[in-house]
Amino acid sequence: MSRHPLLSLSLLALLSGSLLAQEANFREKTIHVVEPGPWTGPTLADGQPDVQGHWSNTIGNHNDFTGTERQPSRVTDPADGQVPFQPWAREKAAEFAAFLENPIRPEYVEPFARCAPGGPTKSLMWHGFEIRQYPGYILFLFDSGTRVIHLDDKPALPETVKTWNGDSRGHWEGNTLHVTVSNHNAKARFGRSGEFVSPDAEIVESYSFEPGGEYFLYKATYTDPSVLTRPMTVSVPAKRITPDTPPDGWNNITFPVVFADPSHAPDIEVWERTCVENNADHGQVALPE
């Protein structure tokens, strides 16, 4: 088992459903808007905007997906902040939410609490994460899994192959990374309030980065006629973590890099994240009693 206390923080948070100590630096009351536009910041050798590094969301998490008195809803379209469910689907989500704290059947245990990947959108609403860029690829290293964005035009996987985070194809337009997600299994819920879509949902994402490098705005539009009455857009704002950002075990889960040369400029890194390995209660499939 991990002997470092910080490595099991995500697990504690999952089990308690609490926010733990969120650092004030990352708690914002409104969604910081970044509009699509030209990129004037640094670029990589292959021409991509250089947006590498550590990031975290600034608004709540999956406990308050459709908003509370303190946090705005992450659903930004429709304007009422609610998921435009068909009636039967709203009932299904409500049923899941009603039994979340008392999961009398295995299907009421949130898949995320069992350490399943968070899916394309919820992963951004959880702990801080890292972006690494390469010719042809962008990697997202989430606390709850890894996501690969393919920047080339290779075909998506055959339709019958389903994964938690789906298969992603992206391209840059100015400051904005546009991504189409296919092959997702739709098993991840958006929030602990149970919102879901079907595997037929079309997911189109945009990640708009401020050229100054401090913020980006993630938007995902879900089109799913089998579950929703109209398309829905989810927005998650994110802010950059720097070596000056105080670690808080939640938004900022980085550690200082130890350099052989002590005069080296400060830098930060994320340590290995595990979940199912340390999650005997749920991830290793203990069933509700």
Partner: protein, 264 residues
Amino acid sequence: MSPAQLRRMVPLKHLDFSLAAPRLVLAVGLLFSAVAQADIPRTADGKPDFSGIWQTLSGADYGLEPHSTRKDAPPGPGVVTALPYQDWALKRRDENFKHRHERDTARQCFSLGTPRGVYYPEPFQIFQRERDLTLLFQRGFRTRTIHTNGSVHPEGPIGFWFGDSRAHWEGDTLVVDVVDFTDQTWLDSAGNFHSEELHVVERWSYVDENTIQYAATIEDPQVFTQPWSFSIQLHRIREPNFQLIENACYTLDYDQYYPIPAAE
């Protein structure tokens, strides 16, 4: 002499990479790295570029030691003659083998550990920057970062499943020092194991543009009587449009509880 010519003269399969020969492994590695390799992929700063999708054909995960066929593995010549276990540890290994289907955490899709992730029979992808190499293993879709930014191990002990990897270049060879392990991973699917004091030194070098020679020296004073080494090859997967597929196999035992909600 090119590495290919050298390999033809001294076929690796004829070399004994077991206990008696760790220095030979080193010598072969140095020979490879000393040969100027003009036709291997290189990064902008001139280092070998290991970017790509790789998989071994060695069968090392079925058993590091020579073994006959069994229901859960094909036969194999092994990559070491015999691991130098302390007496207690050999008994534990034999017990592990007997109970391998229950005890091997890789079967639960937990992180594979180091070096096992490298020769597990499923592909992994290397993403390389000047400051690090990211190994993304299809099984579990977990990453291991090998840092090449002049950093050193953080203060331990830390129970990492893949260990903490800090590396430097020796010519065209990437030399990786890995420490700070949990004792929960195995070295193969045949019960070979280690303690938290595992120390792995890896040497990554190109044989040719589509083949990596991967050599590792294993130390663990709690489990083994002396260090031991092995060397295997990794092959670049060149199928057009091949890509890793997220294999979140740790979800399989509960996947049945999550059918897609649908109108009844």
